[in-house]
């Protein structure tokens, strides 16, 4: 007797799976990872390894022993959270701080809500903000990007030589946005600030500015975006809405008073905006499901980011903006899609 398999239709399935999607995100993150290791050396690698290992181990332990179900690490989402968390931290982050970040990201932001698919806020961002508020000194201790592997053609930024003239591994400095904020508060204009400091767009593109590990190289992020788009992992709606909103907002301000407001390109290339727009805001679980919802989501992030950057206390606002809009996502998901019936037309 033939024992046939019986199930309701459909009998075929696409090759897509959660693990595949996560794997594609990891691949898209590789350029940023490689750039940060190239410029910042072993400290970057340490932060990455601790973050990924910490997140995976924590999720495994919580799933198995606290939630008493099968381990969920095989879907690779903990690895993605680990990498994203690392890319949101400064290179000089101590290992214990990274681990605390893992506990907050996985333990609090993800597993307490019920695990994958149930969290309200982006886990990596929750951890980053938690660490920013709890350890403000360590979290704003940006190192000037420097590494033994740097090409010789590029200029050495100031203060990289130690007392005995040896090449230092790293030295602290402020991010471009931080410099601007402080400078403007002290009454300087954008022009004078850009003369004093290195605000070269080339350096922003290639990863030579200070900041968290992931926000340094815009090109690496764009490469990741390109990969995600061709693999159809994300749709361009959210990144586009964020970028356009930021460009418009900062553009209008810049046109009214260029001495007080930085130009749109500057705002787009700094502060982890692109990292946030491409990798953090597009996280499936914490972003809306309908195109209209996504547009509102993106515009909201752009607006809140700019408001914080210009008038808020922090120089950088993307993380807060995304978390703020995450809270509104359940409301945005209540927006019904354009009804099929309304489109009835007779030719």
């Amino acid at each position: 007797m033939d024992k046939l398999l019986i199930s309701p239709a459909p009998h075929l399935h696409s090759k897509d799976s959660t693990r595949r999607i996560m794997r594609d995100v990891i691949i898209a993150l590789m350029p940023s990872v490689l750039v940060s290791v190239y410029f910042a050396g072993l400290s970057a690698l340490l932060v990455l390894v601790v973050s990924v290992a910490g997140c995976v181990l924590l999720e495994h332990l919580i799933a198995r022993y606290l939630m008493k179900k099968k381990t969920t690490v095989s879907d690779l989402s903990a690895v993605v959270t680990g990498i994203l968390l690392a890319l949101n931290l400064p290179v000089s982050s101590p290992w214990w701080m990274v681990l605390i970040g893992c506990v907050v990201a996985i333990g609090i932001a993800k597993m307490t809500f019920g695990g994958l698919g149930h969290n309200l806020f982006n886990p990596a961002l929750v951890a980053r903000v938690f660490l920013l508020i709890s350890f403000p000194v360590q979290m704003t201790n940006w190192t000037v990007s420097n590494s033994v592997f740097r090409p010789d053609t590029w200029e050495l930024p100031k203060g990289l030589l130690g007392a005995q003239g040896q090449l230092l591994d790293a030295s602290s400095g402020a991010t471009p946005l931080g410099i601007i904020k402080e400078g403007l508060a002290n009454g300087m204009t954008i022009e004078t600030l850009s003369q004093q400091h290195d605000f070269s767009y080339w350096h922003m593109l290639f990863g030579h500015i200070d900041g968290s590990m992931g926000e340094a190289s815009v090109l690496a992020i764009l490469a990741g975006l390109f990969y995600l788009l061709i693999r159809r992992v994300i749709r361009p709606v959210i990144p586009l809405s964020i970028v356009i909103t930021v460009a418009l907002f900062s553009g209008i301000l810049w046109l009214t008073d260029p001495s007080q407001y930085a130009d749109p390109l500057f705002h787009l290339l700094t502060g982890g905006l692109l990292l946030g727009a491409v990798f953090m805001a597009t996280d499936y679980t914490t972003s809306p499901m309908s195109p209209l919802g996504m547009i509102i989501f993106g515009v909201g992030i752009g607006l809140v980011t700019m408001v914080i950057r210009i008038w808020g206390a922090y120089p950088e606002g993307v993380s807060f903006a995304i978390l703020f809009m995450n809270a509104l996502v359940p409301l945005l998901n209540k927006i019904k899609p354009f009804p099929y019936q309304k489109e009835v037309s007779r030719g």
Partner: protein
Amino acid sequence: MSKTFSIGGIHPKDSKFSRDKSIEEFPIPKRVVISMNQHLGMPAVPVVKKGDTVKTGQLIAEPAGFVSAPVHASVSGIVADVAPYPDFLGKKVLSVVIDTDGDEWMETIDRSPEIKHEITATPKEIFKIISDSGIVGLGGAAFPTHVKLTPLEGMKPEYLILNGAECEPYLTSDYRLMMEHAQEILIGGEMMRRVLGDVGGIIGIEENKPKAIELMKRLTANYLQWEVVPLKKRYPQGGEKQLIDAVLGRKVPSFSLPISTGAVVQNVGTAYAVYEAVQKHKPLITNVLTVSSSDPSIQRNFRFRIGTPIREFLSAAGAMDKEGHLFQAFVKVVNGGPMMGKPVSNLDGPAMKSTSGFVLFTEKETKRQEEGECIRCSKCFQACPMRLQPYLLYQLAMAGRTEELDENRVFDCIECGCCLYSCPAHIPLLDQIRLAKNISLKNKRKK
């Protein structure tokens, strides 16, 4: 320029491996089991009893009402039984079982192979012949054709659309019909067009069948009222609502029949059956089906007698070993296409009027993977051609919230399977939505 529908859809591999296998006459089986439930609507009522002798094409069951169709003997022989027999899913259905004896046809049927071009019958006569010949929608739904060709009050038909999309992977029976009997299909379509009152005629064919498009274009060059529209290769392009959307740009509202947009859709196989019925006086007793799989040696297209057991098709196609068991590699046999077809549990079940094919699958190709958590990726929403929110409908169905299911238009679901196909977490979306939809429709009918 190929047209297509505007919402959702997926792109499975079309796997049309059997496209070049010409239609073979399948040998007459020793016994046929002809179910009374060959169509949507009321089952037919048998007019023969055990022991009667019947000829091929003889009436063996009458329609039970308007939304019903007569059934005719597909072989000649002796009626062995009129009783409930299990269908391909093991469900007992009242059937007329005939033990074959020779192949004596009714004298009224014209068996000559020449194509009869001239249409001498009037639209009224054509309608009656369609109704009396037991013709039902051969695209799979098996809706009695004469009912579809009867316009409802206040609805004026503007177009007859012949569905040559065949969007289901693996199936090529419609394609082979178009390649080998294009003229007859066109004549049958022309007859139905006249029944509807000289409306426009359109033939929609997916662009993965370029030869058929070219052939049809050549043949319709002489018919002013007919137009061939190439369609993009996409699933579910062959769905009635999606076809009308692609060809005419009109969308069928909820709870409305497609005729409300002015379009009547018929499968090319149905048009062929209409030709045979009107020009050759042959009732619906044969059809063409595909037997396919990913194995290049198991690809056939058969013209079969209705009521032939499924087992015989699989055996003839070379899918069975010497002992008559299906090769171990194949774990599933699907009656129809892989997206909407039903699984076969009883290989002795018979083929029906609207059976379009049997597809064999290996474990790797079809076994469902373990269900995971919904990651809220909205791929199901992007894939749904009716713009439903499957992730939401699934949650509501699991929680039994019938009112909210209705608010979210669960009754608009066409059960195409795009949602389940696309879900990365392998959640059995359509399984639960289908149940909820049936409950919703049942409740609506009660009111």
